[in-house]
């Protein structure tokens, strides 16, 4: 495994020796992974390499097999869960989008973090108006085009994705995880999403970015992890490796299973 200089400071999130087994399938084995403040980390690897499993473990959706540790801001956390992760400022655009399609947009937008009024009641008015605002500000939907009361099932694939992306942005997270966010997006929407990832860095926050298109990943990231069959096959500082080199090595990994 290639070890390189890591950025200074305490990682926002760190996995130590994390393995994840589903029955017979070992999706992650002995993974060490860290994201530092203000850093965009790219995650590359073949289909089935374990990228999504890794970020779902970071999110607390999967619990690591015994022996694996999750550290948040230098503190070891045992009872990690999605609710906890989101409370601590981690938001994810999942590969499968995690929408509830029979529900209106406003319920999807605030899924799991519904705002309440001072009497503890669900603030439906705010959920509706915020959704309408977010849709026209961030998703470029004019408010007449898609109404917050429309159910997600009636939207186009790209629009659905827009809901998932906007939802992750709304909560102003410290760490945003994007699992193949640009799949199926139009050129302009893809550009907006990539600009957003760059914006995360400008705001001093962190991100994990998964995308099979290296031309999307390379320009925006600071560091890259290459996963292969559940193992970390390599870690690169962007300054150490050119895009051509990286592409060459990815082909090499795919052929031989090792980077060297």
């Amino acid at each position: 495994m290639t070890q390189t200089t890591t950025p200074p400071g305490t990682p926002v999130i760190e996995l130590r020796n994390v393995s994840k087994t589903f029955g017979e399938v070992r999706s992650l084995s002995g993974v060490d992974f860290a994201v530092y403040p203000g850093e965009i980390v790219g995650l590359l690897g073949d289909n089935g390499a374990g990228k999504s499993t890794l970020v779902k473990t970071v999110m607390g959706f999967h619990a690591p097999d015994p022996g694996g540790e999750i550290w948040f801001n230098g503190e070891r956390i045992d009872d990690w869960s999605v609710a906890r992760a989101r409370d601590l400022g981690i938001e994810t655009i999942y590969q499968e989008r995690a929408l509830c399609e029979k529900q209106p947009i406003w319920r999807n937008m605030f899924m799991g973090r519904e705002p309440r009024t001072k009497w503890g009641l669900l603030d439906v008015a705010r959920m509706r108006s915020e959704s309408a605002r977010l849709m026209s500000d961030h998703m470029g939907f004019t408010s007449a085009a898609v109404h917050p009361d429309n159910v997600v099932a009636t939207m186009s694939g790209g629009e659905k994705q827009g809901v998932a992306i906007t939802r992750a942005l709304y909560f102003d997270a410290n760490l945003v995880i994007l699992d193949e966010p640009t799949v199926g997006l139009s050129l302009t929407e893809t550009k907006k999403t990539l600009d957003f990832v760059s914006g995360i860095k400008t705001a001093g926050k962190s991100a994990i970015f998964i995308d099979h298109n290296i031309f999307h990943v390379y320009p925006v990231v600071d560091r890259l992890y290459v996963l292969d069959r559940g193992k970390v096959a390599g870690i690169y500082q962007k300054s150490e490796i050119s895009m051509d080199d990286l592409i060459e090595r990815l082909y090499h990994v795919a052929r031989t299973g090792s980077l060297n």
């Binding site: 999605v82 929408l99 799991g112 009636t154 790209g158 199926g184």
Partner: protein, 345 residues
């Protein structure tokens, strides 16, 4: 399924004709509007068929006293059905909860404490159902048949198969709570209205209610976004347990007697009310107001067919017609409103 074609090329501006506005009132409340329509049509039919009976208030009083007996459970069951599950054990919980009340009260415990213990029993039964379903991931249709026998068996053993008289002299407060008529309105229906309002707020204005919809729609998505699906489903089952006990007590006090068979015959009325009210068997959508109106329609068929002097054999036929026709209509209108194709769902 709705087509999931993903736009790949350029598509910066949506074409003008792609615009849809806010869904109309009718589109949003189509099930509720439909169910009220069915109810009115049925009532008119009854009035025309037997005017002398249906212009007399006695029929309405009987109907307002007995409908809430299953309607209250139907309102709670709506939550469970929206989460995508089903509970078949509530008739047994009605009996078990009431049995606990009777035994404790007979044993000399003050009635309010016996009441609390009865509700606690209902909640515990619901917790058991919910845990087996949500935590162990057992299909609810299967496991609640099992717990249904379990709760009923436990109750029969506890009562040794005998009933308990619940006279007004011995239980004046219970009769005031469950069988009076303040301002001439049967208290059963007042309870049903209060429970409807409470359930409406719980479902539509609380986080729990929001999560009920999300978990029923897509449990994996809900969990990915940090919703504890196990806890949401368990609480929904507990709500049914508590309301089943409430109804068991109300039903028994109404008859001045607790029968160990309490709850038998409640299953289909209750479930029919939920589905007739527009709650989807697939989970994710539903309404407590719909269930409320549907319960009264079912209750009206019960009371109406008999009172109109129609042979009681026709009750089931009327049930069947109203339920099948209105569920089919609801589905057709719903799809039309949501512009979904008829065949591809």
């Amino acid at each position: 399924m709705v087509a999931e074609t993903q736009p790949t090329g350029e598509k910066p501006k949506k074409p003008q004709d792609n615009r849809v506005g806010k869904p109309s009132f009718l589109r949003r409340y189509v099930s509720q509007v439909g169910i009220v329509g069915v109810g009115l049509a049925m009532w008119l039919a009854f009035v025309i068929a037997a005017p002398q009976v249906f212009t007399n208030q006695n029929i309405y009083i009987a109907f307002a006293q007995t409908t809430p007996q299953f309607g209250i459970i139907a309102i709670a069951l709506t939550f469970v059905v929206i989460t995508g599950e089903m509970d078949l054990s509530f008739p047994s919980i009605m009996a078990l909860g009431t049995a606990v009340f009777c035994l404790l009260a007979q044993g000399g415990l003050a009635w309010p404490l016996a009441l609390v213990a009865a509700f606690g029993t209902g909640a515990l039964c619901g917790w058991i159902n919910g845990t087996l379903v949500a935590w162990l991931n057992i299909p609810s249709l299967v496991i609640t048949i099992g717990t249904s026998f379990l709760f009923r068996g436990l109750e029969l053993v506890m009562m040794d198969g005998t009933g308990v008289p619940l006279t007004a002299q011995e239980y004046p407060e219970m009769h005031a709570i469950f069988r009076s008529s303040p301002f001439g309105i049967p208290v059963q229906t007042l309870w049903m209205i209060i429970i409807l309002i409470g359930a409406w707020f719980l479902l539509n204005r609380s986080r729990f209610g929001a999560h009920v919809f999300l978990v029923g729609d897509n449990p994996t998505s809900a969990r990915l976004m940090g919703i504890n699906a196990v806890s949401v489903k368990t609480r929904a089952f507990m709500l049914v347990g508590v309301m089943a006990t409430f109804s068991g007590l109300m039903t028994s006090i109404y008859g001045f007697y607790f029968w160990p068979t309490t709850g038998e015959g409640f299953l289909l009325n209750t479930i029919a009310s939920v589905f007739l009210g527009g709650t989807s068997v697939f989970g994710g959508t539903g309404s407590v107001a719909g269930t409320f109106f549907a319960s009264y329609i079912i209750g009206a068929i019960n009371a109406g067919v008999v009172a109109a002097g129609i042979n009681a054999f026709y009750t089931q036929l009327a049930f069947g017609l109203v339920i099948v026709v209105s569920v089919v209509l609801q589905t057709l209108i719903d799809r039309r409103m949501k512009r979904q194709s008829l065949t591809g769902r």
